[in-house]
Symmetry: C2
């Protein structure tokens, strides 16, 4: 990249980042800083990591405080918006919606919507308010998993059978809007992700593993998932937890899963003897 | 019941109980003792509770030692057989099948079968060997849940909505042969049972609960489930764990779920303020 954009390329607009949990928000901040793009982080209380807001303009905001959140985004001249990182979906009581959030929920329903339906509705709502909502993977170079192995190890025939079984089950769970991940060992479903998230699933499967060849984690995109929010994501921590749970590898959908720190993921997997492989969507 | 059966009623044949985990095997033993029926317990190592075999003829047997198990049943003149209690399905490596078990698995496959398919195959295999396989609920008076509440409490409209959602999801999970139970709170799927079992699901959901009205446990029979083995079962312990997890109640399918200690279940639920309700199968 040249130091100065050519005269006919408009400077990228300031990016607003609505930050949930995990490492993705910080990754986006760093990528903006490296590219010289202005950034404003709206950090969600109880979800975002403090590291996400270091060194940039930010404000903390309660999930239910929609009016304040929208006002903060406008005051900071945000037009382009990215939703990054997960949010443990609260009960309506815990959410304490302000008037603006209540208006939104009155229109779309809250309990009627699954996680994915709710996220789609949130994305549409930001668009109604005039923001341009962008997927995190569009902003991160080489963000989505390619097809094939990311490190040196590859699944053998037994692991491939577990992957296929896991992908079938994870897709079915996804269409029920339950979760994105499943752990399969020798054809047995050791665990299924619901609201607890992939990390908690992996921790629990450490106690459930059987003797013999270890299982695989399969993580897929929910059918019809809003691709600009809550895309399936893995990173070095996922690999480390999978190794600790005695798994042999991780399968993710190529072109549909965000891989944070791809080199570190490959390196961690190589050291632990795990495969990480991008598979075709079914 | 009279002390002596009438002359034209043949004495019930000796009952063989293949004992897995939980309280069901002992319940069957006690019911045989009370009825004066002879009993032999084949207690599965790593699964059956020692209490299951107290005071009756028994032998411990490894799950993979099929030849020994069959010989023990024959030596003890068992013709009627009941499979009671769950077994954590092992990997093939952990199972160490003997020649007889290996022959069985070679014919039916092992990895190809889900839990339920495997149980059906086991039941058929016992029938091929000349045993009559009976469902545990047939042997226990009033064993299956009736329709309607078991105690004093009843679900309100919100809990009914969670029950309906849970039943839909649990049925879908069952048809994938994953598990029988799901916990739903205010429309959110807090957790899904796989191989860990219902007790572990309830323990984990204690940490996942949201503010506001608590969730419900919904436990259903898998579609096409072999009804003589691994029927969905609840007991006082299920109620106690549900209460500890902050749930508001338990819904089970009427005519399809074994309720151990029905009075104690109702009493425990009443004291804890929980409902336990039998619902119609979908």
């Amino acid at each position: 990249m040249s130091d100065k954009p050519p005269a006919d390329t408009p400077k990228a607009a300031k990016l607003g980042i609505i930050a949930g949990d995990g490492g993705l928000p910080r990754r986006l901040v760093d990528s903006c800083l490296a590219a010289g793009r202005e950034v404003f982080v709206l950090a969600l209380e109880g979800a975002a990591e403090p590291a996400a807001v270091e060194g940039v303009a930010y404000a903390w905001c309660r999930l239910g405080a929609a009016a304040r959140g929208l006002a903060l985004l406008r005051q900071n001249n945000v037009t382009d918006l990215v939703l990054a990182g997960g949010v443990r979906r609260p009960s309506l009581a815990m959410l304490r919606p302000d008037w603006r959030a209540a208006k939104f929920f009155a229109r779309v329903g809250y309990k009627a919507l699954g996680d994915d339906g709710l996220l789609s509705a949130v994305v549409s709502e930001f668009e109604r308010e005039g923001f341009r909502v962008i997927g995190a993977d569009e902003l991160l170079a080489a963000g989505l998993a390619p097809e094939g192995p990311l490190g040196h190890h590859r699944p053998d025939a037994e692991a491939l059978a577990d992957i296929e079984h896991g992908q079938r089950i994870a897709s079915a769970l996804g269409s029920l809007d339950i979760g994105q991940a499943v752990v399969v060992q020798q054809g047995l479903v050791l665990g299924v992700e619901a609201i607890e998230g992939t990390d908690a699933l992996l921790r629990r499967c450490a106690d459930l593993r059987r003797d013999g060849p270890g299982g695989v984690l399969v993580k897929v995109e929910k059918p019809g998932q809003e691709q600009r929010a809550d895309r399936p994501t893995i990173g070095p921590q996922t690999v480390a937890l999978a190794a600790a749970a005695g798994l042999r590898g991780i399968a993710i959908e190529a072109g549909a899963t965000i891989v944070l720190d791809r080199e570190e993921v490959a390196h961690t997997a190589d050291r632990a003897g795990l495969f990480v492989i991008g598979i075709r969507r079914r």
